[in-house]
Symmetry: none
Subunit: 211 residues, 4 copies
């Protein structure tokens, strides 16, 4: 569907690094990649530089990852994992709350999630499309989507009549955009005094729309 996207480099790890020594190498590589991505951006993060930053030889890098893309993919996966953990926990916690309280909590959580490692988040958000991780992102989003849909379903009683699918799309997309933009491009909005207001507004947006 995307033009010119044939022959994308492999993005799956090569070995699963059973021994302890290798495990350390793999971790160092992913960590180094994340660091360089933040510090220098995708283009400047060459495999040689990554290996160097990880204190490892290029050869070792290629022992575990077949390409730079695979390494970035690993960083993405790790980051997504962390985000989803936060999100999942929040959704569980919130399941039994009345919808307004619940949504407020979810918005706040979304902001927190974006704060996990905002610089990394930004680079990844920019680079994801180039890494063949669209699917994984889709996966990520789909999981969020499904969980949120379940959440709405279990609060059916408090909602107006609405196509849940559509409502989920509207809410998830809006929350994501608002929190993402606020964290990455409008950090002044998240000062101690003003953060609450933003949460208020986002919550109001959702609540009024859904009720």
């Amino acid at each position: 569907m995307l033009a010119g996207m044939s022959r994308r480099p492999l993005t799956t790890p090569r070995k699963h690094a059973s021994q302890e020594r290798s495990r350390a190498t793999v971790d160092a590589l992913v960590e180094a990649t994340a660091r360089l991505l933040v510090r220098e951006g995708f283009d400047k993060a060459s495999t040689n530089r990554i290996a160097q930053e990880a204190g490892v030889s290029v050869g070792s890098l290629y022992q575990y990852y077949p390409s730079k893309e695979a390494l970035v993919a690993a960083v993405i996966d790790r980051h997504n994992g962390e985000l989803m953990q936060v999100v999942r926990a929040a959704l569980v916690e919130v399941a039994s709350l009345p919808i307004e309280k619940a949504l407020r909590r979810l918005v706040a959580t979304a902001i927190d999630a974006h704060r996990v490692d905002p610089k990394l988040h930004r680079v990844l958000a920019e680079q994801i499309p180039r890494t063949g991780r669209l699917e994984k992102i889709a996966t990520f989003n789909r999981e969020y989507f499904v969980l949120f849909r379940d959440f709405l379903e279990s609060h059916r009683g408090e909602l107006r009549a609405v196509d849940l699918e559509l409502a989920t799309f509207v809410c998830v997309t809006s929350i994501e955009a608002l929190t993402h933009t606020a964290v990455l491009h409008r950090s002044e909005m998240l000062s101690d005094e003003r953060a609450a207001t933003l949460v208020d507004e986002a919550t109001r947006l959702m609540v009024r729309y859904l009720r």
Copy 2:
């Protein structure tokens, strides 16, 4: 704010191409860049290939643009210009309508704007961060922002008490995200039957939030 971004290549055109012939060359170059960006992606769109596609020598390319980035920047500017034209027209047209009708119209326009050249839009959206065009985008957004704020201001009477700045942020960000996502990742939502529903929902989201 972005780390390690010093020494960014120049991104302003070299001459202003007053003569007719030059004008044609410049146009051909920008057009060729856009075409290749869509067809091959940023990385594969080399300056040599762009020159070839434009039917011009590389030498000439560098006569008019000091770098590849400058060329991409030109494409971005052109694209943004087209978008803003659509948006501006809509805002003018809508100025005197009651808020619900107005918002419905604006949402529909946002979708149309994204449809101007969706594939190009997607590539640009992905590449913008790498081109130092963040500022220009900010500029773009700021103009939209200001216009929308004015729009809200002139409909003050129909709104609840609300910080206009904040409301603008919420609305602009949400509309942008909903239309962008729908067009780029959920094209099935824009089939003839379903498009109206999406517009309905987005409108409802805004209206309920603002009133």
Copy 3:
């Protein structure tokens, strides 16, 4: 048919180098490749080294040849061309001679042909299989084969009853092997005094076989 031979690198030149300057570059590259092949062998003749030897940048090398293999292929083609010229000339010259005189002359010519650039010939003979030039070699051999067959045909009267195809195979293969081996591995056989003896023997081999 050969195992593991999929995805062979391209072996056709990239441009045809019309301008004089490029022509010189291309020539220098082929020449340098031949030189290095002789001096260092295939494996040590890296593209960077070839470019250096040619007094040209690697970039230029890749402007004209898509791979090292293509360069070697060019050398092979050039060498084959030279050989065939010698061989063709001899066959024409010999057409009307009685078969013994003719064969003697052809054997002597084959030795001469191998002497054109024996070291290069050796390296190429060794490297040909790896270059996807088997076809070209086949072509080369086929031309020789056809010419020799015609030669036999036109001397039909002097031959015993024999399958011409088969006789051609036997003669061409033997002459080639004898001259190749003598030149490359038994140069002592080609000293002034002994060369004539070798030609005698080879001629006798053919004549007795054919008559």
Copy 4:
């Protein structure tokens, strides 16, 4: 004689593998090398892959062979040994036959010898020059040469007056070339019906030449 061939890697095995376990490892390595050479070609047959194919660690590989070349050399030696066994047996068997019968038998045997493992034979024939095994090959050929010379000597009575040295060169080279080419490049000549004809012709070539 070959230029630039100094500093060739070691090509002799490291230990003589007295113990049984070692013997098995060594065998597995040589066997694996032969298999990979056939399946993937010389370049793709990396030492790591060979070790893996042999079910042994790279470390162990280097315990027994000091270099990749040494491994290939071992394969060549093994292959040559097998060939020589066939050839030696034939020469013994043939010693007392009249020359025509004997030569027919030797030609047939040469074809058989090439059929022992034609794919391996081809790869080795191509790779030998790169392995410093030229000497060994020379050795191989020299043994064949000497045996054949002895054969001719013992049939002196049936021959015309001829320099035995030279006659041996002519015969050995021609037979080798004819059988090698037929097996590797003209397999259609060895179909059940046609093989006999080829043997006939080759025999005739020799007999007429020698008598």
